[in-house]
C-alpha cells in the first residue's frame, strides 16, 4: 500500500458503523413516533460515511438533499430514553474518578498532535500528517470509551444506546455544520463572494481612513454572518477593501489589518445561525427551547467587541 497507515477513512468507517447502529435502533424504537424517518436519516448518514468515497458526486449530493428533505418535512423525531433513577448515588460512588474518562480525549489529542507527526512504520507514515489532530482525537475517544466501558462494567450496547439518546436530542442539527460547509463550496463555485466583494467596494463609502476601517470591519462581520465562516469572508473583503484601500491608499499596516480584520469576522460568527457548530448545535445539545438562544446570549458581546475592534484598528493600523 502507499500513503499513511491510518487516515481519515478509518474514522469514517467508525462513524458509519455508529450511525448504522443508530439507524437500526431507531427503526426498532417503538417509543419514537417517527421511527421510519429517523431510521432513514441516520441510515443515509451511515451510507455517506461507509460508501460515500466510492459514490459519484451526484449521488452524494442526492444523499444530502434527501436528508434535508427528511428533516425539513418533519419526518423524524426522537425516542424516549429513560435514565437510571439512582444517578446521584452513582455519582457519589464514583466521585471524581468520573472525570478521568472525560479528560482522556483532550489529553490524547494533545499528546498525539505533538508526537505522531513524522512517525513512520515500514516506510509509510503511521498517521496522515495532514489529519494528525482529528485522528488523535478519534484515538482519544476510542481509548476513553474503552476505559469507561471497563470502569462501569457496561456493554457496548449500553454505550451505543446512550450515544443514541444524545444523538436524538441533537437530531438534524448534527448534520448542519457539514451541510453548511458544502453550501460554502457551491457559493464558491458560483463566485458569490466576488459579487459581494464588488458590491462592497462599489457602494461603501471608502474616501477617508476612518470610513475605510469601518467599512472593512463591519463588512467582515456582516459577510461572515452571511457565509457563517470568517475564512470565506476574509479573502473577499480583504481583496475588496483591506489591501487596496487601507494598506494601498492610506498606508495602513497589513499585519494589524489582517489580524483585527479576522477577529471582526469572528464577531460576525457569534451572531449567525449559519455558524451552526458554534451556535445551533450547542442549543440542541443543551436542549434549549429557543434554537437561537446561544446567539441571543452572545449578541451584546459580539456587537460591543465589533465596535472595539473598529476603534482598535483605526487607532493602531495607521500608526505602526
Amino acid at each position: 500500500m502507499s500513503g499513511p497507515w491510518i487516515g481519515l477513512d478509518v474514522l469514517y468507517v467508525l462513524a458509519g458503523l455508529l450511525f448504522a447502529v443508530f439507524a437500526v435502533a431507531s427503526l426498532l424504537d417503538r417509543t419514537n413516533p417517527k421511527r421510519f424517518g429517523s431510521a432513514l436519516f441516520w441510515g443515509l448518514f451511515a451510507a455517506s460515511f461507509l460508501v460515500g468515497s466510492y459514490l459519484p458526486d451526484v449521488v452524494n449530493g442526492g444523499i444530502m438533499v434527501a436528508m434535508a428533505l427528511t428533516a425539513g418535512f418533519n419526518l423524524m423525531s426522537r425516542g424516549e430514553h429513560p435514565q437510571p433513577v439512582d444517578k446521584p448515588q452513582r455519582a457519589e460512588r464514583w466521585g471524581n474518578r468520573l472525570f478521568i474518562p472525560a479528560l482522556i480525549p483532550p489529553v490524547v489529542t494533545l499528546l498525539g498532535t505533538l508526537t505522531l507527526k513524522g512517525v513512520e512504520v515500514s516506510g509509510h507514515p503511521l498517521v496522515d500528517p495532514k489529519q494528525v489532530t482529528l485522528i488523535s482525537l478519534g484515538a482519544g475517544i476510542l481509548l476513553a470509551t474503552a476505559v469507561a466501558l471497563i470502569m462501569f462494567r457496561a456493554s457496548p450496547v449500553t454505550a451505543t444506546r446512550e450515544g443514541r439518546r444524545l444523538m436524538d436530542s441533537v437530531g438534524w442539527a448534527g448534520l448542519l455544520p457539514q451541510a453548511l460547509a458544502a453550501l460554502g463550496a457551491v457559493f464558491a463555485a458560483g463566485h458569490v463572494g466576488d459579487v459581494i466583494g464588488g458590491l462592497a467596494s462599489d457602494w461603501l463609502p471608502l474616501g477617508t481612513p476612518l470610513a475605510a476601517v469601518c467599512a472593512y470591519t463591519l463588512g467582515m462581520a456582516l459577510f461572515t454572518a452571511i457565509m457563517g465562516n470568517a475564512f470565506a469572508a476574509f479573502p473577499v473583503m480583504t481583496a475588496a477593501i483591506g489591501l487596496p484601500i487601507i494598506v494601498g491608499q492610506f498606508g495602513g499596516n497589513p499585519a494589524i489589518m489582517g489580524a483585527i480584520g479576522m477577529l471582526s469576522g469572528f464577531c460576525g460568527t457569534l451572531t449567525t445561525p449559519m455558524a451552526a457548530n458554534f451556535n445551533i448545535v450547542p442549543a440542541a445539545l443543551l436542549e434549549l427551547s429557543d434554537r437561537n438562544g446561544v446567539i441571543k446570549a452572545q449578541l451584546p458581546t459580539a456587537l460591543m467587541l465589533l465596535i472595539a475592534n473598529t476603534v482598535l484598528m483605526y487607532v493602531l493600523v495607521y500608526h505602526f
Binding site: L8, A15, L18, G52, L55, D57, V58, V59, G61, M64, A68, K87, Q89, A91, E92, W94, L98, A102, P106, I141, T145, A148, F152, A154, A159, E162, R164, L166, W172, Q178, A179, L183, V186, A189, G190, F234, L243, P254, A255, I256, A259, I260, L263, F266, T269, L270, F278, N279, P282, L288, D290, G293, V294, A297, P300, T301, M304, L305, A308, L312
Partner: protein, 222 residues
Amino acid sequence: MWVLLGVAVVVVGFAARLNPLLIVAGAAIVTGIAAGMDLLATLAVLGKAFKDNRYISVVWLILPLIGLLEREGLQERAKALIGKLREATAGRLLLIYLVIRQLAAAVGLTSLGGHAQMVRPLIAPMAEAAAEAQAPGLNPAQRERVKAMAAATDNVGLFFGEDIFIAIASILLIKGFLEENGIVVEPLQLSMWAIPTAILALLIHGTRLLLLDRRLGRAAGQ
C-alpha cells in the same frame, strides 16, 4: 448578480424559521442554477463538498462516551462539586472558564473545551447548580439563560484566544493570503496584534458574566 438569490434564500429562510437543513439545500440549488449550472451539476458540486467535509461530523463519535458518563452521574457530580463551594456563582464560574479557555486556545490547545465534550457534561450543569444556589426557585427562562451563557462563553473564549497562537488555521490563512499579494508578514506579528482584542473580549464578556450574577441575585431578592 443573480447568484445572490442563494444568499436571499438563506436570509429569508432563517427569518421564516424554516428548517435550516432545508434552507441549506434550497440555497445550494438556487445558487447553482443562478450561476448557470444545471441541477445535476449543482448536486455534484454540493455532493463532492459534502463528502469532503465528512470530517466535521466525525466529532459525534464522542456521544457514546458522554452518554455513558452522564448515565453514571457526571452532571450530578459536577453539580455536587459546585454545591460545596460557597463562593461559587454562575458568573464567576463562567468567568474562570472563559479565562482558562482563552489561555488554553492561546497556546494552541483548542481541543480543550467544546460543546459536546465540556459544556454539556460539565460547564452548563455546574453553572446551573451555582445559579440554583444564588436564586432558589430559578425559573425556566433564567435556567435557559444560564445554559446559553455557558455555550456563549465557550465560543468567546475559543474565538478570542486561538488567534494568539501562531500556528492556528486563521493566522496561516491571513499569512498565506497576504503572501499571495506580495506582502510577507511573520505569524508572530499577526498573533501579537490579536492580543488587544483578546483582552477586550475578556473585559467585555467577563463584565457581562458578572452582571448575570447581579441579575440572578436581584431575581432572588424579589
